[in-house]
């Protein structure tokens, strides 16, 4: 899922310091799960912001609402009435949720409270690791289920660079394993080394501006 992290309080306060009726909208999906933008975190944010305002001698009204999912119009409709009563919105969703809110309520200023970090897994409670850069051309089939685009610091598709440390860590940090060392070990154990012997041609990077796609089977719905 998407993993996000709260911005420094100062930065958030700076964005909203000129408003007096602020709606904080959390998200019940990814950012709740990663403990950055659910009910609890969104309420804590409003308390901290209130304190910032009172230190400046300002009184500000806050409301909190956590949508089921901010990346879907149906759920955004839930807050329509609340939006009218506030003069700005802070979102504790990922960057997608922030943008959808801003698009849906075009006349309202919408501010992000989080930095959207990556798509990753839960290594432990509140401990996340990045695993996919959404390259649109998944290579996991020949790399033993280890992402060369994300987990190799140079996104190499044909094998390791010269920088793998003796302990098998990546040249960027002793704390990060070299993805290609792991790919080799795993494929060797599975007797599949031949998977990484052919040369992989240059990647078809999906980097052609904002993308959209229709899930197969649903094309009819959108055909004009």
């Amino acid at each position: 899922m998407i993993k996000a992290k709260r911005k420094p309080l100062d930065e958030i306060f700076n964005m909203v310091k000129d408003y007096s009726r602020i709606l904080c909208v959390g998200c019940g999906a990814c950012t709740s799960v990663c403990l950055a933008g659910g009910q609890r975190e969104t309420e804590i944010l409003t308390q901290e912001l209130s304190e910032c305002f009172s230190q400046k001698g300002q009184r500000v009204e806050f409301s909190v609402f956590v949508t089921e999912r901010q990346c879907n119009a149906e759920y955004l409709a839930d807050i329509e009435d609340m939006v009218k009563e506030h003069d700005c919105i802070i979102s504790t969703a990922c960057g997608v949720g922030v943008q959808y809110l801003a698009e849906k309520y075009e006349s309202k200023p919408v501010f992000p409270a989080l930095n959207t970090m990556f798509i990753g897994l839960d290594r432990d409670i509140a401990f996340f690791e990045e695993r996919c850069r959404t390259c649109g051309n998944c290579k996991l089939g020949y790399t033993g289920g280890i992402c060369p685009v994300t987990c190799c610091a140079k996104s190499l598709l044909n094998g390791p660079c010269s920088g793998t440390n003796a302990d098998g860590s990546c040249e960027v940090s002793r704390d990060v394993p070299c993805a290609w060392n792991k790919i080799y070990e795993r494929l060797k154990a599975q007797n599949r080394l031949e998977n990484i012997l052919p040369i992989q041609p240059p990647m078809d990077w999906i980097d052609k501006g904002p993308a959209s796609f229709i899930q197969s089977g649903y094309e009819k719905r959108y055909r004009k």
Binding site: L157, Y184, L197, M203
Partner: protein
């Protein structure tokens, strides 16, 4: 002949080749390049020009290589995959060729987090193997990537690649070398070799795969300046394996004689490497020690360099 470079001719004629390294200045002072190049003239068959090594901004390898070519010293332009996408790479390779650069070395490049621009956006659009394939295509088919638009004129480039035999996953490194050769590498420069015995074994594997017949392998060498440097290389540079006997030697001499001992060690290594079947030459990486190359070349009996 693929590129008709001096290095290619030296190798083709079966001479034991010598390449050395020159790091461009952190600025625009050409006299720095001229001074370093002056030390290297006549000492090697070609001079590698590093491409913002350790991700520190320096004068471009293309410009520095062109300055050397103008001085009549043959450069090997290094090109990393870190800073350029395929558009810039193809454009720069054609430009380099037009400026008279005939050798290049394709490498991934040190990660940006090492250098002076830690917050830079990395590129790595292609990897070093894909870059080799792209240059070969420009040279042999005169085609660009993608739809294969034809280019006008020739791109005579002698294509090099790097190999690091002793970095993990060690067992994969010879197979990885084969991939580089399959992609089109004409010559290989290895990481600095200190453990000659271990390297001899690796070369056996390489020969068994027939790789030495398909490209020219230059063994990399780094002169040790001090005991501290030996320790630094062992602890910090991937794939550097310095045997205890070498460490003992460099530790065993007084500080002021360590550099001298380092030169003795490298000369002996060159002697031993010459005898390894499949080794076509040496690549001496004397970082900021260009002025010592003459002494090393002389004592290792690498002079005079062949005129081809």
């Amino acid at each position: 002949m693929k590129a008709d470079s001096n290095l290619e001719k030296v190798l083709n004629e079966g001479h034991f080749a010598v390449t050395v390294e020159l790091g461009p200045p952190r600025g625009t002072d050409i006299s720095v390049i001229e001074k370093k190049a002056g030390f290297l003239r006549g000492m090697a068959d070609a001079v590698n020009i590093t491409d913002c090594q350790t991700a520190v901004v320096r004068m471009s390898s293309i410009a520095t290589a062109a300055i050397l070519a103008r001085m009549g010293i043959e450069p090997v332009m290094q090109m990393t995959c870190r800073d350029r996408n395929r558009i810039a790479m193809q454009s720069d390779i054609m430009g380099a060729s037009a400026l008279g650069i005939k050798n290049m070395l394709s490498i991934s490049g040190d990660h940006q987090s090492f250098g002076s621009q830690k917050n830079a956006k990395k590129v790595f659009d292609l990897d070093s193997i894909q870059l080799i394939g792209m240059v070969k295509r420009l040279r042999d088919e005169k085609k660009m990537l993608g739809d294969g638009d034809l280019i006008q004129g020739d791109v005579p480039m002698f294509i090099g690649a790097a190999a690091n035999p002793f970095a993990p996953p060690e067992e994969f490194r010879a197979l990885h070398l084969k991939k580089k050769i399959d992609a089109g590498a004409d010559f290989i420069q290895t990481q600095g070799i200190f453990n000659i015995e271990k390297f001899r074994e690796w070369m056996e594997t390489v020969r068994d795969m027939g790789l030495d017949k398909r490209c020219s392998i230059l063994a990399g060498l780094i002169p040790l300046k001090s005991a501290g440097m030996a320790k630094y290389l062992t602890d910090n540079v991937p794939g550097i394996n310095i045997p205890d006997s070498v460490i003992k030697r460099i530790n065993g001499v007084p500080k002021e004689r360590a550099a001298e001992e380092g030169i003795a060690i490298i000369c002996e290594s060159i002697e031993q490497l010459r005898d390894i079947k499949g080794i076509a030459g040496v690549h001496i990486m004397a970082i900021e020690w260009e002025h010592k190359i003459a002494e090393i070349a002389e004592r290792a009996k690498l002079l005079p360099r062949p005129l081809v």
